[in-house]
């Protein structure tokens, strides 16, 4: 019998246009806490979805569980084998009780009319919760619980299913410090009982607290698996980021034009606070920080979608209140959202219709109708200048690959001739070649006088395009770095610890 509980070998996964995973392996020993780590887009969540049975890997993958070859085709297959996934957004039923949430999914299709045994259900739930040393009334509906409590319910569900392997995806992202401590205790006790845990997180400190071994992924590729004692936080960061700098760090000098946008003491309850910065003509301002640090909310507030906020937004020296996205466009602001498929594009509509959408009003002829000829010319212009492939303007936007879709979105916003371009995760899910193309494009636009804000979690990207970098943490600005002083390490320090300079000692425990 192998020493490994789980072995995933030769795992590749290709999505249209992107190779998300390329020959990755993951081996988890019995009773260990195994950290899966990598930057955003490194392929962690794809790997986990394959483990969960949500995605099927490309042919050639090998999958062993408890030493035997295993096939996981549907989520229920994973559950039945004893693999439980605790997603970041949790899979709970808010209207059902704690007991039910723990018990649900236990019976198959055949037993529709089987009586639900509430007594057994509660007994099972209580037992599972007791193992976690977590006291709560099992008849409470889950919607009444805090996120931390809900997470415990998910873990209890895993225990009730006799899970041998529990995957926790960013489990601490919405927990307070005290709750995190409690979670650690739970993890240790699970480990003591021989349950393996895959722990996915960005927070290096906690990874070192709980993990025995680390598997590092980078750009969909396997970097290596290491024992905790082989690593330090610095080394881990280097492993995640890679020795080879992916992109050339930006060396161009920012043109110091006039101020386009100034934000003063911007605040929105539950989103961000005390945000002040300015953006000049011809400058690329990078905003980075962990997912959930309030970056996107800030951008959407400036774009008039996330309302109402406190504080001032000053454009071209004039104080303005932006009440809607329509007004933002009028003021010369363009915002390219993070999710192309749901927010950026209307997938079923043609490329033409997508590109012209924000400028339709300018395409009216004297009869107030849309000048279709001009509209097509406009679309063709951007298809050509951005090299969208295939260059078929009537094709539905949903038919294109990720990189080409992103080009359409960029074309759409360039058509508005914006003064200020805010772009959220510009290269999310796009292959390497297209990435640097887009970086070049952004630099070129800035050189022509546009003010650009790039929001990104990908540090090399931020370094490659920005003139200045703002790092956000917990809804505030943790610090600002000029491009000359910025390194991946210094940004990480701000994002993780909220401090400039060296990683603090306590981080190393």
């Amino acid at each position: 019998m192998s020493e490994y509980l789980l072995q995933m070998l030769n795992i590749s996964k290709t999505f249209p246009g992107v190779k998300a995973l390329d020959d990755v392996k993951l081996e988890v020993k019995k009773g260990e806490v195994h950290a899966l780590i990598g930057e955003n887009g490194a392929g962690k969540s794809t790997l986990i979805k394959i483990l969960a049975g949500v995605y099927q890997p490309d042919p050639g993958a090998q999958f062993f569980f408890e030493g035997k070859e295993a096939k996981i085709r549907r989520p229920i297959d994973a559950t039945m084998r004893g693999i439980s996934i605790i997603y970041q957004d949790l899979s709970l039923f808010p209207n059902l009780s704690v007991a039910e949430n723990i018990y649900i999914g236990r019976d198959s299709d055949k037993h529709s009319w089987k009586k639900v045994d509430w007594a057994l259900m509660e007994k099972t739930a209580k037992k599972a919760l007791k193992e976690l040393d977590f006291e709560i009334d099992v008849s409470t509906p889950v919607e009444k619980l805090s996120i931390a409590q809900q997470q415990m319910v998910e873990i209890a569900r895993a225990l009730a299913f006799d899970a041998k392997l529990i995957v926790m995806d960013e489990p601490t992202s919405s927990l307070s410090a005290g709750e995190v401590e409690k979670l650690y205790e739970v993890i240790f006790s699970l480990k003591k009982r021989g349950i393996s845990i895959i722990f996915v997180s960005h927070k290096l400190k906690e990874l070192f607290t709980v993990s025995d071994r680390f598997t590092v992924l980078r750009d969909g590729k396997y970097v290596g698996t290491y024992h905790a004692n082989e690593l330090t936080e610095e080394k881990l960061i280097t492993l995640m980021v890679g020795r080879k700098i992916l992109y050339e760090k930006n060396k161009e000098k920012a043109a110091s034009g006039k101020t386009l946008l100034e934000v003063r003491n911007l605040a929105k309850e539950g989103n961000f606070k005390d945000i002040s910065f300015e953006l000049r003509e011809g400058e690329v301002l990078g905003i980075t920080g962990l997912v959930g640090s309030g970056r996107t909310e800030l951008a959407q507030a400036i774009f008039g979608i996330n309302r109402p906020y406190k504080g001032d937004i000053i454009i071209n020296g004039q104080k303005t209140v932006i009440k809607s996205s329509e007004e933002a466009v009028k003021k010369g602001i363009a915002y390219i959202p993070e999710s192309r498929k749901t927010q950026g594009l209307i997938l079923r509509q043609s490329i033409i219709n997508n590109i012209s959408l924000p400028v339709l009003k300018k395409l009216k002829n004297k009869f107030l109708l849309i000048n279709r000829r001009k509209e097509i010319e406009l679309a063709e212009h951007y298809i050509q200048s951005l090299d969208v492939r295939p260059p078929l303007p009537y094709r539905a936007a949903g038919d294109l690959s990720g990189g080409n879709q992103q080009k359409v979105v960029i074309g759409k916003w360039l058509s508005t001739n914006p003064k200020i371009l805010i772009i959220d995760e510009p290269t999310n899910g796009i292959d390497i070649g297209a990435k640097s193309e887009i970086h070049k494009l952004l630099r070129g636009l800035a050189a022509n006088g546009m003010g650009i804000i790039v929001i990104s979690s990908e540090l090399p990207e931020v370094l490659a395009v920005s003139d200045r970098i703002i790092v956000m943490r917990h809804g505030r600005i943790a610090g600002e770095l000029g491009i000359h002083e910025a390194t991946q390490e210094s940004i990480m320090n701000l994002a993780l610890l909220g401090q400039k300079g060296k990683i603090r000692e306590e981080a190393q425990l």
Partner: protein, 327 residues
Amino acid sequence: MKAFLKSKEMSVAVIILLLCIILAFISPVFLTADNLLDVVKGNAVLGILAIGMTLVIITGGIDVSVAAVTSAVCVVLGKTMMFLPDSPLTIVLIFVIAPLFGVLLGSINGILVAKIQIPAIVVTLGMMSIINGLVLYITNGQYLNSSNFPTVFLKFSNFSVFGISIIIWLFIITAALTWYILKYTLIGREVMAIGGNKESAVRVGINYSKVQIFVFSYMGFLAGIAAIAQTSYTKAVDPNGMLGLELMVIAAVVLGGANIMGGRGTIFGTILGVLLLGIIQNGLILAKIDTFWQKVFTGAIILIAVSYDHIQYKRSQKQLSKIEVEA
């Protein structure tokens, strides 16, 4: 108890309570047991259908063919009773025939919705048109009255237990049964689970289309029961007697706090919604109010209720999307 005070049902209950207090002052007969029983009895059919509709709406569907299905079952019942002997067996038999026929019609809806993936509103619209046309064609609108029914059925209709009419009992039993199914059977919990979170339901391996077929068939089953109640109530079969009832049924469920987009809804809330509609109707005569204004009141109450509910919902969503900002 505390949970109840904060629940959506509470707001309906408060409105009902206020109405009752006002009516009690205006009309001395309002609060008599007799009157209240009449209100419940008069709305039992609406109530039975609304309970079925609650399940449909919880899963995000809608069924506008309920009234048509119920009429169809009424007609079938009426016609078969003309041939049934005057023995207690007849009662047993109608409790077999009516629900079976209802399930048959309901399952057609369910299969079309789940398997052909036609939106529920369109399927049931088409079914409504088909069933109404067939019923009218077959019956030519002919009434069947009590002289066509075996006396045992009339006895059954007038039967009461503890002074409460059998029709009210049918409503109570239906409510209890449905509550039991929702609470104590796997399929019931799956209906609730899908209502709670569709994505999670699929993650834990719940068969969505099976649940859809179930809720529409169950709706048909209850339409069968409602047909028995209706026939007992009027002691006659009027093929046109249910026209337009489907919108009242939907209104009752929505007033009871169910979300038309799916996800929320309780049996208790629906019962309150039915009572609210019933009390408005009853009260307007007792309070001697001009009947012409009744619809204006009803429309305004629906608008206020749904807008209020939506604003509350938006607020709660905002709470959920908060991120922790360091002070």
